[in-house]
Amino acid sequence: MATAVSRHVASARRASRVVQIVAIGLALFWSLAPLYWMLATSFKTELEAARLAPTPWPHAFTSENYRGLFTGELPFLAFFLNTLITCLATAIVAVIIATPAAYALSRARFRLRGTIAYAMLVFRMLPLVVLLAPLYLLLLHAKLLDTHTGLVVGFVTFGLPFAVWMLKSFIDAVPIEIEEAARVDGYTRYQIVRKVVVPLILPGLLTTATFVFMEAWNNLIYPLTFVTTLDKQTLPAALVLTFTGQFKTDWGGMMAAATLTTLPLMIAFFAVQRSMVRGLTSGAVAGA
């Protein structure tokens, strides 16, 4: 009897394991298939990439598409540098503004504190396009259209609420006694933030900056709207503007550019993934 029950439990456990593996396999396939297709197409010849019956892997392996990015007519390096500079500036500016804001929301006691915090979260829920028209007008009047500064303003505006919330969760986790000890030691609030809080939340600052950086890097609609000169364009917008034509699309070149566009994001994500999860989930359980 006992053997039959344990056999039944073992087979149920096996079945549940199979279901788990199948589910994970499906999710992985769903996520990785486009990446694989991008990578595979980037190594195909122009003819093979445009074939109506697509080949699952490159039959004639070529690195011409990558070489073409740097030797062709398109200023790919300039696109890359534009993206890198605007996204880095966005990350730095967002973190500099978000840190004192997050500190105030975490530590200060003032009326409407909760309302302001949740208003920021609501702001974050708005779709990107909702801000498009007001931001366009703002940049127009500030004479910042078609400039990298204007683009940074747009990126920061959208990334800031999340940065504040994420940093707030890191600051919440810093024991208040440490700050009080610094107050007893004679330091002012500003000095405490600079000398005690910021060094303690450094992983959080890097994580938040990376997240804002990634968001800005992925942003397609703002550069397309705010930047009109092709030489000032960022990579995602440049991909759309340059590789797709009225009569022909250079799929191989586009996928090579897309691969190079994705690479820094993946590196950035893997560098901070642990602390990113910690930042997003801190406070979810007691003692976290």
């Binding site: 440490i178 009080e180 007893v184 030691d185 004679g186 330091y187």
Partner: protein, 366 residues
């Protein structure tokens, strides 16, 4: 060095009164202990002295000068926190030097002070380590070192031993007292542990529900508690209480329940004559009662009959917990005396070892 005065201090949080009318004088160089159960307001009072909390009413004075609006950093205090509050990203050396650097002392002076303090606390080999690389006891020493290295006028300690094991706690108690004697600062020490309070304090403040119940030396608190709360809070095991009727027969006053008979002492007779209550609570400390036979009990000032509820063996002696018809008593008896649970026993005590408390207000009757 500083004399601290609290005058009518009150504290409210969102309208709730957590400290009410606290008046206290702490003498220069005194080691004052604030003791009370959780939520009694002792930590809030300490934080008010530190300047980490503002008073809702009343005044805090250092050497007669009002410091209500003086920022915490300008009060010349040092504090040891319950969870140490060490800077995790700094070495032990930097933790100790951090406050000195703020005061713009010369690097050579800072170095000399840090090393002198580290030597005194036996933490010199740890100066290069980070707090996470230290044991609980070592962290506690570093927290103490960080506080005393600045040579403050007031030394505040908020339950600094609560995270240590029992053995280390005893060791650190002596260490803190040694440090206090060496630094000659006024010290205010918060604890919920009355043993810690009795062994460390020059004087003790007993608090409950945001109110100061009594301020006195350990001996005063133990021998003459002002109310039933102080009587029950100070002393281990706690004082036993029995509710008695007051039987007045002209000049003669006796206290009785079905199971107890107590002849009031002269002092108590005067106190009882001054009130017109019909009942009173009698308190007797465990070490003041002895087990006796019925014959011995007949001639005793105080005799109480009851049933043994539990026996706690403590090696050389045992605590016998007895239930009576009007309350519970505990007796400290020698191991040699055999006592069993459910056994009917009789306790005797001397009338002068009895404490009387008003049943309504809990105030001691003297």
């Amino acid at each position: 060095m500083a004399k601290i005065s609290l005058r009518g201090v009150e504290k409210r949080y969102d309208g709730a009164l957590v400290l009410r009318d606290c008046n206290l004088e702490i003498a220069d160089r005194e080691f004052m202990v604030l003791v009370g159960p959780s939520g009694s307001g002792k930590t809030t009072l300490l934080r008010i002295i530190a300047g980490l909390e503002h008073v809702s009413a009343g005044d805090v004075l250092f050497d007669g000068a009002r410091v209500n609006d003086v920022d915490v950093g300008d009060r010349d205090i040092a504090m040891v926190f319950q969870n140490y509050g060490l800077y995790p990203h700094m070495s032990v050396y930097d933790n100790m030097a951090f406050g000195l650097r703020r005061r713009k002392l010369a690097p050579s002076d800072i170095d000399a002070r840090v090393r002198r303090t580290a030597r005194m606390l036996d933490i010199e080999p740890l100066l290069g380590r980070r707090p996470r690389q230290l044991s609980g006891g070592q962290r506690q020493r570093v927290a103490l070192g960080r506080a005393i290295v600045r040579d403050p006028a007031v030394f505040l300690l908020d339950e600094p031993l609560s995270n240590l094991d029992a053995h280390l706690r005893v060791q650190m108690r002596a260490e803190i007292l040694k440090v206090h004697r060496a630094v000659t600062a006024t010290a205010v020490y918060v604890t919920h542990d009355q043993v810690e309070a009795l062994t460390m304090g020059d004087r003790i403040v007993v608090m409950n529900h945001g109110r100061i119940h009594q301020v006195g030396t350990p001996g005063e608190l133990y021998d003459a508690p002002v109310d039933r709360f102080v009587a029950s809070f100070i002393g281990t095991p706690q004082m036993g209480f029995v509710d008695c009727r007051i039987e007045r027969d002209g000049e003669r006053i006796a206290l009785a329940t079905q199971a107890a008979r107590i002849v009031a002492s002269d002092t108590h007779r005067h106190a009882l004559a001054a009130i017109d209550a019909t009942g009173v609570t009698v308190g007797i400390r465990p070490e003041c009662v002895t087990l006796a036979s019925e014959n011995e009990a007949r001639d005793a000032d105080v005799a109480v009959r009851g049933t043994v509820q539990a026996v706690e063996m403590l090696g050389a002696e045992q605590y016998v917990h007895v239930a009576t018809d009007a309350g519970a008593l505990t007796a400290r008896v020698p191991r040699s005396r055999s006592v069993k649970v459910d056994e009917a026993v009789t306790f005797v005590a001397s009338a002068r070892d009895v404490h009387l408390f008003d049943r309504e207000t809990g105030r001691a009757l003297r």
